[in-house]
């Protein structure tokens, strides 16, 4: 197997090119769903070719998991295992939400390449590339979430709600991420470079995650900060995730989380498609 062949080795065969262009009949147009699924397949292929990108998005949360549990766990919750019980469902939220930033980054990366021009010149359902990449992203979300849960279990975390509770929590967080990812898609369409999207995205999601109840119980915070943290949708999501993991679903938190996700999508999805069309 030679990997470094002469780059000019291949050459077009003009007769074959003529045969190739002469011979085709146009197939019937695919439906919107099938088109979106094809773009989803494209997203999977990218993960397949560069599996390291999954590491990128899970390394930070795993690092936080280890650091907070062993460094601060004892101080915050009295023992590392007690803290792990508290923080793991929150870290699940953090891990998956961080991954949503990459949806915007990869959209922006696409836009800097010529391939989007081709997609936009095809006779296909217009939002298909966006919805399709979301399907691909959802795989990343699930992987990011699963890694955290698995590492947590390895460290001794045992969800009261059992596997079902863990899966339910993961599903809720992934659904929430669908809504949130449109915010980063808008950023991805507005910013000039993938790096700018990354920076802006984390500048928003990082403080929002820390100013939530993911790491600490807000009752220990000064009044105004406590009010902010309680109102932070990420706190609500973390509470919902915690309740599912514990096998005692908090209906209000779950509903509010879903409502926030729906609201984010309702606002930012139309903006995204509009921006995408006019790029």
């Amino acid at each position: 197997m030679t990997t470094t062949t002469d780059p000019a080795a291949g050459a077009a065969d003009t007769a074959a090119v003529r045969r190739a262009i002469a011979a085709t009949a146009r197939p019937p147009r695919p439906g919107p769903l099938s088109t979106a699924l094809t773009f989803g397949w494209r997203g999977m292929l990218k993960v397949k070719h560069v599996p390291e990108q999954l590491l990128d998005v899970t390394v930070t949360p795993v690092m936080f998991l280890l650091m907070f549990t062993y460094l601060f766990g004892g101080a915050i919750a009295g023992s590392t295992s007690a803290y792990l019980d508290y923080t793991l469902p929150g870290l699940l939220v953090m891990s998956v939400l961080f991954t949503t930033v990459y949806s915007g980054v990869s959209l922006n990366t696409d836009l800097t390449k010529g391939v989007v021009d081709r997609f936009r010149s095809l006779p296909i359902w217009r939002p298909a590339p966006l919805l399709g990449s979301l399907l691909g992203d959802s795989v990343r979300y699930v992987v990011a979430g699963t890694v955290i849960i698995v590492v947590g279990i390895a460290l001794g975390y045992r969800p009261e709600g059992g596997p079902l509770g863990a899966v339910a929590a993961l599903a809720l967080v992934v659904v929430f991420s669908f809504g949130l990812s449109w915010v980063f898609s808008v950023l991805g369409l507005l910013m000039r470079s993938p790096n700018a999207v990354m920076n802006a995205g984390f500048m928003g999601i990082f403080p929002l995650t820390f100013l939530s109840n993911v790491f600490v119980d807000p009752r220990t915070l000064p009044g105004p900060l406590e009010a902010f943290v309680e109102a932070n949708p990420i706190s609500v999501l973390a509470t919902a995730s915690r309740s599912l993991m514990a096998g005692q679903p908090d209906g209000v938190a779950i509903l509010v989380s879903l409502a926030v996700a729906a609201a984010l999508a309702a606002v930012f999805l139309p903006v995204t498609t509009r921006l995408y069309r006019s790029r």
Binding site: A11, A12, D13, A16, A20, R26, P27, T38, R118
Partner: protein
């Protein structure tokens, strides 16, 4: 059966501005079906913006265009079904393999999985990319990437292909291959709108050319007509003795045509309408005893056509006047 109209593109008064800058300032184009039509101009002339309007990627601010009989704004989807675009940046996905790119396009155009794969393999073979089919496109050479790009444009045979600067940055060998492919497409009845800043490329490929500068078409015609519009060919001589250049220039001015300044002191170039006058000029030099190392007579290149045409527009500096003698 055929829905093909005699005109592939018919554009009038296309205009597009980005903020303060007017990228396209009223472009009219008439492109007959089944030909290669060249849009020639320097960087920033508005070529790409024009193509993007015709390929329905952006809407014109004013003016209208019909592509294969369909209006680009009101029937954009119908246009998309008949055309293919290879953009200035190669319009392929660098993070996928060559084969995956072609299967992806095939699937998006409605082929079933097996048909999309078969078509991808056929095209990879025809375009000489079969060996690199499973390599990521980001590791492709420029020429391979361009060939894949064009292959992606004909996964389903289009009636019109937009080629935006298809050979920019390619070595001569790869460039020739792209030219061969373009000729093959046209031989099978596809129309090509070719944007290029290379005069040689338009001369080699195009049946008709529109020269575009600062968002306007400043000249139109066949390569031959454009050359004729500049008027004359040129007689070049290389003198044995540069010291006699001024004398020779005087003879040429009278016997042949206006002498143009040249950087090389041994070279003398004069406008020359016909070969007979060139013979007279050379005879005059011989009679005066001015020895020649070399002489040639050529048609104006498209380069000169372009300079002559845009030179008029950009003529804010006076022509060189410090001629010796």
């Amino acid at each position: 059966m055929s829905t093909r109209t005699a005109l592939a593109i018919e554009a009038t008064g296309l205009t597009k501005s980005f903020g303060e800058t007017q990228a396209v300032a009223g472009v009219d184009l008439v492109v007959p079906a089944g030909s290669i039509y060249g849009v020639l101009g320097p960087n920033g002339a508005g070529k790409t913006t024009t193509i993007r309007m015709l390929a329905t990627l952006i809407r014109p601010d004013a003016g209208s265009a019909r592509v294969l009989g369909h209006d680009v704004t009101t029937e954009a989807d119908a246009v998309r079904g008949l055309v293919s675009l290879t953009g200035q940046l190669a319009s392929v996905d660098e993070e996928l393999t060559g084969r995956e790119n072609l299967v992806l396009i095939g699937r998006l155009l409605g082929h079933r999985r097996a048909a999309a794969r078969a078509r991808a393999d056929e095209l990879l073979e025809a375009f000489g990319i079969a060996e690199a089919a499973t390599r990521l496109v980001k590791h492709y050479s420029g020429g391979m990437r361009r060939r894949l790009d064009i292959a992606a444009s004909i996964v389903v045979t289009p009636q019109l292909v937009f080629l935006d600067e298809p050979t920019t940055g390619l070595d001569p060998r790869s460039r020739n291959q792209v030219w061969e492919i373009a000729r093959a497409l046209v031989a099978e009845g596809t129309t090509i709108l070719l944007c290029t800043q290379y005069l040689e490329e338009a001369d080699q490929l195009a049946d008709g050319i529109a020269v575009i500068d600062r968002g306007r078409v400043i000249a139109e015609g066949t390569p031959g007509q454009l050359k004729a519009s500049v008027g004359s060919g040129r007689l070049h001589v290389r003198l044995l003795d540069p010291g006699r250049r001024a004398e020779a220039a005087g003879l040429f001015d009278r016997a042949v045509g206006a002498v143009t300044p040249a950087a090389d002191p041994t070279v003398l170039t004069a406008a020359c309408a016909d070969a007979g006058r060139a013979a007279v000029g050379l005879a005059e030099l011989a009679r005066a005893g001015i020895g020649l190392a070399d002489f040639s007579l050529d048609q104006p290149s498209l380069d000169e056509v372009f300079l002559a045409l845009t030179g008029h527009l950009a003529a804010d500096e006076p022509a060189l006047q410090e001629q010796p003698s």
